[in-house]
C-alpha cells in the first residue's frame, strides 16, 4: 500500500465515526484531494479484491471502514456472550445494603439510599442475587429480602461472614488514612 493509503487506513480504523474527506486531507498536509481519492480507491479495491472481512464505505459526510454484513450475526453473537453487563452503581449499592442488613424490606433500603428501590430489587431478584426470604412484622407485612447462594458464588465468598465488617471496611477503602499501629 502507498504511504498515504496506510495513514488513511490507520485513521479510518481508529475513528469511531466516519471521517469527512477534508479531515482525511488534513492528515497529511502534503496530500492533494486527488491523492486522497486515489488512496481511498486503493484501500477499497484491496479490501474488495483480496477478500477482506471489512470494506470501505462512503457514508453521508465521509468514509468509514465497516465489517461486511455477512459477519454481523456471528460477531454480535460472540460479542454479546463475551461482554458481561456491569451491575450499575445503584444495583451494587442495593446489593450491599441487602448483604449487610438482611433480612431487609424495600422501604428500609429506600430510606438508606434515599431513592426508590423497587425496580432495582426486582432486577436483582431476576438475576438471582437476592430473593425474598420472609415477611416483616407490622402493617402490610412487607417482603424481606436477603442474598442468595448465587450472590456468594459470584463474589467468591464462602459465607457472608467473609465480608468485611462494616467498620473495618470504611477504613480499608478510605484513601490515605493514617495506618493503625
Amino acid at each position: 500500500m502507498t504511504p498515504l493509503a496506510r495513514l488513511l487506513e490507520a485513521a479510518l480504523f481508529a475513528s469511531a465515526r466516519p471521517i469527512p474527506s477534508d479531515t482525511l486531507s488534513q492528515l497529511d498536509p502534503e496530500s492533494t484531494p486527488a491523492g486522497v481519492a486515489a488512496a481511498l480507491d486503493e484501500i477499497r479495491e484491496r479490501y474488495d479484491n483480496e477478500g477482506h472481512g471489512v470494506e470501505l464505505v462512503a457514508v453521508s459526510d465521509g468514509w468509514q471502514i465497516l465489517t461486511r454484513p455477512e459477519y454481523t450475526e456471528a460477531i454480535e453473537r460472540a460479542q454479546l456472550a463475551a461482554r458481561p453487563q456491569r451491575l450499575s452503581g445503584a444495583a451494587l449499592e442495593t446489593l450491599a445494603i441487602v448483604a449487610y442488613r438482611q433480612p431487609i424490606g424495600r422501604l428500609e433500603i429506600e430510606d438508606i439510599r434515599g431513592v426508590g428501590a423497587g425496580a432495582i430489587l426486582k432486577s436483582l431478584q431476576e438475576r438471582g442475587l437476592v430473593d425474598v426470604t420472609g415477611r416483616g412484622e407490622g402493617m402490610g407485612r412487607p417482603l424481606l429480602y436477603g442474598t442468595t447462594p448465587l450472590f456468594l458464588e459470584h463474589f467468591a465468598l464462602r459465607h457472608l461472614g467473609e465480608l468485611p465488617r462494616a467498620d473495618e471496611l470504611t477504613v480499608a477503602l478510605r484513601p490515605a488514612l493514617p495506618q493503625a499501629s
Binding site: P84, E93, I112, G140, A172, L173
Partner: protein, 253 residues
C-alpha cells in the same frame, strides 16, 4: 524513539537542579526514597557506603520549603537519616566482629526501591508503546439482547465494597424506621376496575394491577374484584390453575 523516556526520578533531579532556591514540589518525587535515591545518584556515591552526614544534609536542604502537610513522610525519613548519622558517630566496640552497620536497613530499602524503579522504567516503556497505538474506537452496539438477565455481569468484590462504602458515607444519620400505615383502598380499586371495564368487555388481571404494584394495592384490587363479582357487576374466570384471571363485564353468559 522510546529511549527518551527517562526514569522519572532522573528527570526530576535535573529539573530540581536547574531551579534556584529549591522549591521541591511533591509530585517531582514519588516519595522520600525516590528523593534519596536521586541524591545518591547526583552525588555519585556508593549506595553500599553512603556518606550519611552529607546525604542527610542534602536531604534536609531539599525538603526545606516543602509544604509541611505534604512532607510528613519526608520528615520521617529526615529523622531517620539523622538518627543513623548519630549512630555512625558512636565508637565501634573493639574486637566485636558482628558490628551491624546502622545504614544496613536503609540500604536494603533503597535497593528494593531501586528495583521497583527499574520495573517502572519497563512499564513506562511498554505503556508508551501501547499508547502509541490506537485500538478500534468503541462503537455502540445497538442490539439489546432479549434474555439480558442470563448474561454474566461484571462486578467484583471490590465494586461491592466500594458500594458499601458509598452507602455508609451517605447513611451517617441513625436509621429511624418509619412505618407508614397504608389502609386498603377498596373503593378506589373498584372505581379503577369499573373504568377499565367501561372501555372493554374483557380484561386480565395484569390490565388492572400494574407489575410493580405494592401489596396493599394488590390486596385492594383483589377485594374490589370479589366485591364486584358478588354484586354481579362482572365475572371472574380462571381458565386453568395459576393462569391469569380473566374478567368480563358480560355477566349474562
Amino acid at each position: 524513539m522510546h529511549n527518551d523516556v527517562a526514569p522519572m526520578h532522573a528527570r526530576s533531579a535535573e529539573d530540581a537542579g536547574e531551579h534556584v532556591g529549591f522549591i521541591v514540589e511533591l509530585p517531582e518525587f514519588s516519595g522520600p526514597l525516590d528523593l534519596l535515591l536521586s541524591l545518591i545518584r547526583d552525588e555519585q556515591v556508593d549506595i553500599y557506603d553512603i556518606p550519611i552526614a552529607r546525604i542527610a544534609e542534602q536531604f534536609l536542604a531539599r525538603i526545606h520549603g516543602m509544604r509541611i502537610d505534604d512532607a510528613a513522610e519526608y520528615l520521617e525519613m529526615a529523622a531517620r537519616l539523622l538518627r543513623i548519622k548519630a549512630q555512625m558517630l558512636l565508637p565501634r566496640p573493639e574486637g566485636m566482629e558482628a558490628w551491624e552497620d546502622p545504614r544496613a536497613e536503609l540500604v536494603r530499602r533503597l535497593l528494593e526501591y531501586q528495583q521497583v524503579r527499574e520495573v517502572v522504567d519497563v512499564l513506562e516503556r511498554l505503556s508508551d508503546d501501547r499508547r502509541n497505538r490506537f485500538a478500534r474506537s468503541y462503537v455502540q452496539v445497538q442490539a439489546e439482547p432479549v434474555d439480558r438477565d442470563d448474561r454474566p455481569f461484571a462486578a467484583t468484590l471490590a465494586d461491592l465494597f466500594a458500594a458499601v462504602d458509598r452507602v455508609l458515607r451517605q447513611a451517617t444519620r441513625p436509621l429511624v424506621h418509619d412505618v407508614i400505615p397504608r389502609a386498603l383502598d377498596v373503593d378506589g380499586a373498584m372505581r379503577s376496575i369499573r373504568a377499565v371495564m367501561a372501555l372493554r368487555s374483557r380484561a386480565k388481571w395484569g390490565d388492572i394491577v400494574s407489575r410493580d404494584a405494592e401489596p396493599w394495592q394488590i390486596l385492594s384490587v383483589l377485594l374490589a374484584l370479589l366485591e364486584l363479582a358478588k354484586s354481579g357487576e362482572l365475572r371472574i374466570a380462571q381458565p386453568k390453575p395459576f393462569a391469569s384471571m380473566e374478567l368480563s363485564g358480560d355477566t349474562a353468559s
